[in-house]
């Protein structure tokens, strides 16, 4: 036991959790804590908006596999984190959000919780439905155990955001602090080990299967189960489709890869899923954007669903064999049993069918085209970047083009806002990813609409010396909405035109970043090469046509086998 303030105890507790970096903005209700950053090992990255801090922390978390930490002051600071917290909740990212709060007790009784004090917001009430759990501290003594518990909850089971609200009096209180208190949460015991009987049933079904397909989701990445996934797929010769969130868990250049499924999924993935006789789904929640109309989603197949979250089993899709477990453990057990059962799988008619379908539905691009089409640009980008480069995306057309045409090769190298669809996520997330992976290039594939929502973080990337590359696919319009207005609202554009402002090259330069423009593939290639050598953030403005659609597409209300448009 040592006598110290709550603020110091907090920093010490975070150090004990091996926190190296925090993203945030201070304010009145956090002054005691910020006073201790001066002599802490933890790097604090001052963002320009709390939303940016939350997304940066999530980008850090998803690139590194560790919990990301963001911090904001009471009231508006805390509410500005909300979008970022909701994003982490939907995409199951381990995020710790720390918020300042007005005192819970004190002599100035008009400045305490519940009296509508200056910069008071009920952030516990506000974030209850978008956090895995939240805490409000009352005393300094609670800090070490609360921090330990919060990290445990955020990073185990199905990961998610945990918020800790810290009234000012708990920060300033000086008392005996005990760091040896262990975690005590009897209401939280995530199941990690698969049930052997369920594994046996799944093995038997897979061994009998003639047309197996694997659907791998973000859970495979969260569980670091890519190696195990590849072993199972290769043993079964089962093609692997991923959900959008699963992109990167299986190399998309692998002969068994089908790409990602869904509304703007790869047509091969959508088609093969609907032809399968057994579907092995791992770490996916069958979101509406993945499944399309549920009645026709892989209708003929028998389904095995592995997920760490019991509540995901049977929520959207009824399954035959549920397995509640950590994806890595379950795949390992499956592999061991299958390897005994199957000596060597011969090339089957199914393998041939997959190969044919890939040749037919994913024809190779015509070589030598200099046109600046998104498809060509993203395929070119893949060639320019090393395998381990991290790519983030914004939300909208840029994101779906990236899903379709940018091959992700390794887990944790494709980071995007899947569930919440947060415009403005990609750029701050790229900053967080770069902090996690300082030796690898980090690229945000952006649209002009999304980038403008968090572009102020250019200041963060420049002043904090975190160089990333932003590629703005610039059509001066909210592209995805414009596409829907073209397709489903008779081409009546309503409130989608953004105008040709700002000049993104000048904007970058105003922040002290490098601004480049590319109007052809060779120019784009040159710009990316220049950006890769730069030690300052580069924004590459790439003008594209307003009429450019993301195709193929599953129209709303249709099954994923009713896709329109060519790849």
């Amino acid at each position: 036991m040592t006598k110290m303030s709550g603020a110091k105890a907090l920093l010490k507790s975070l150090e004990k959790e091996n926190v190296e970096v925090m993203f945030g903005i201070l304010g009145g209700a956090l002054l005691p804590i910020y006073d201790h950053f001066c002599n802490s090992k933890i790097r604090h990255i001052l963002c320009r908006h709390e939303q940016g801090a939350a997304h940066a922390a999530e980008g850090y978390a998803r690139a590194s596999g560790k919990a990301g930490v963001c911090i904001a002051t009471s009231g508006p600071g805390a509410t500005n984190l909300v979008t970022g917290i909701a994003n982490a909740y939907m995409d199951s990212s381990p995020l710790i959000a720390l918020t300042g709060q007005v005192p819970s007790t004190g002599t100035n009784t008009s400045y305490i919780i519940g009296r509508d004090a200056f910069q008071e917001a009920d952030i516990i009430g506000i974030t209850t439905p978008i956090t895995k759990h939240n805490f409000q501290l009352r005393t300094a003594k609670e800090i070490p155990r609360t921090i330990k518990t919060a990290f445990h909850i955020a990073t185990t089971g199905r990961p998610g955001p945990v918020l800790i609200d810290m009234p000012k009096n708990a920060q300033t209180e000086i008392t005996d602090i005990d760091f040896s208190n262990g975690i005590q949460i009897r209401g939280y015991k995530p199941t990690a080990n698969p049930h052997p009987l369920q594994i046996r049933k799944a093995t038997e079904l897979l061994a009998e299967s003639e047309k197996p397909v694997i659907l791998a989701g973000g859970g495979v990445i969260a569980a670091n189960a890519s190696t195990e996934l590849q072993k199972v797929a290769e043993l079964l010769l089962a093609p692997v489709a991923t959900s959008f969130m699963g992109k990167g868990c299986f190399p998309e250049t692998h002969p068994l890869s089908l790409g990602s499924i869904g509304m703007h999924g790869n047509p091969v993935a959508n088609k093969m899923l609907c032809e399968a006789d057994v579907l092995l789904a791992i770490g996916t929640r069958f979101s509406d954007r993945s499944t399309g109309k549920l009645d026709s989603f892989c209708a003929p197949s028998r389904k095995i669903h592995i997920d760490i979250d019991t509540a995901e089993i049977g929520k959207n899709v009824d399954v035959d064999i549920p397995i509640v477990a950590d994806a890595q453990k379950a795949l390992k057990d499956l592999y061991e049993r299958l390897a005994k059962l199957l000596k060597k799988k011969k090339i089957s008619p199914w393998t041939k069918r997959i190969k044919e379908a890939k040749e037919q539905l994913n024809p190779p691009s015509k070589a030598g085209s200099k046109d600046l089409k998104p498809k060509a640009l993203l395929q070119e980008l893949r060639k320019l970047l090393p395998e381990n480069a991290v790519v983030t995306t914004e939300v909208g057309q840029n994101q779906m083009w990236a899903a379709l045409y940018f091959n992700a090769l390794k887990p944790r190298t494709f980071i995007s806002s899947g569930g919440l669809g947060t415009m403005g996520f990609g750029f701050p997330a790229s900053i967080g990813a770069k902090v996690a992976c300082p030796d690898r290039p980090v690229v945000d594939i952006a649209g002009d609409g999304s980038f403008r929502m968090t572009e102020q973080e250019l200041a963060t990337s420049v002043t904090e010396d975190i160089p990333v590359i932003v590629i703005v696919l610039n059509n001066s319009v909210l592209g995805m909405v414009a596409q829907w207005q073209r397709m489903f609202f008779k081409g009546r554009y309503s409130a989608v035109k953004l105008g040709s402002v700002p000049d993104f090259v000048k904007l970058a330069e105003a922040y002290g970043a490098q601004g480049l423009r590319a109007t052809s593939i060779p120019e784009f290639s040159k710009a990316v090469k220049k950006a890769l050598k730069s030690d300052v953030t580069t924004v590459i403005d790439v003008p594209i046509l307003l009429e450019e659609d993301v195709e193929p597409m599953v129209p709303p209300g249709c099954g994923i086998n009713e896709q329109i448009g060519d790849y």
């Binding site: 009430g125 895995k132 209401g187 089993i313 049977g314 929520k315």
Partner: protein, 170 residues
């Protein structure tokens, strides 16, 4: 939500502020509906017991239980099967009494239903009645002919029969 029968869920939860909020919030967010909820302390001072009745089909109920289990402050959730439980509800009913004949009629009814008169005034009788919700409904139907001035029902509470009980896995 489908048109199923009313189902009963019992939960042991941490006895601390905010837990009722997080449970109620989950129901609202997932578009489930609470028909009634009773909360009170258990023999263990740090645990409360919630009895929640929900109207919905099997699939909905399964999701309710799973989503409740996910809440960190919910220690244990159990579906209670109607054939294996005793259920009770308490109602306080204030009835309008215009004359002496009504008064004696109402008192007779209370006796038949094994209720008790807990307050008397020249123009009213207040009674307590305990039983299954059906029994209370039946009694209320009778009382409507006299005129119910005020009514307070606690909502259903329940325990499993025999020696079995909801236990925390240690």
């Amino acid at each position: 939500m489908g048109n199923g029968k009313t189902k009963v869920i019992a939960a042991l939860v941490e006895n601390k502020p905010g837990v009722l909020h997080s449970v109620a919030n989950m129901f609202r967010r997932r578009d489930f509906n609470i028909e009634s909820i009773t909360v009170g302390p258990t023999e263990q001072h740090d645990l409360s017991r919630m009895t929640i009745t929900v109207n919905g089909d099997e699939k909905t109920l399964e999701q309710v239980v799973k989503q409740m289990s996910k809440l960190i402050d919910v220690v244990k959730v159990s579906r209670l099967e109607p054939e294996n439980i005793v259920t009770r509800e308490l109602a306080l009913i204030k009835v309008n009494i215009p004359d002496n004949k009504s008064r004696s009629d109402v008192i007779n009814c209370v006796e038949v239903f094994r209720g008790r008169v807990v307050d008397v005034s020249p123009q009213s009788l207040t009674m307590e009645i305990t039983g299954t919700p059906d029994k209370i409904d039946a009694f209320l139907n009778l009382m409507r002919t006299y005129g119910i001035m005020e009514l307070a029902r606690t909502g259903l509470t329940a325990l499993t029969r025999g020696i079995s009980s909801i236990k925390i896995d240690e």
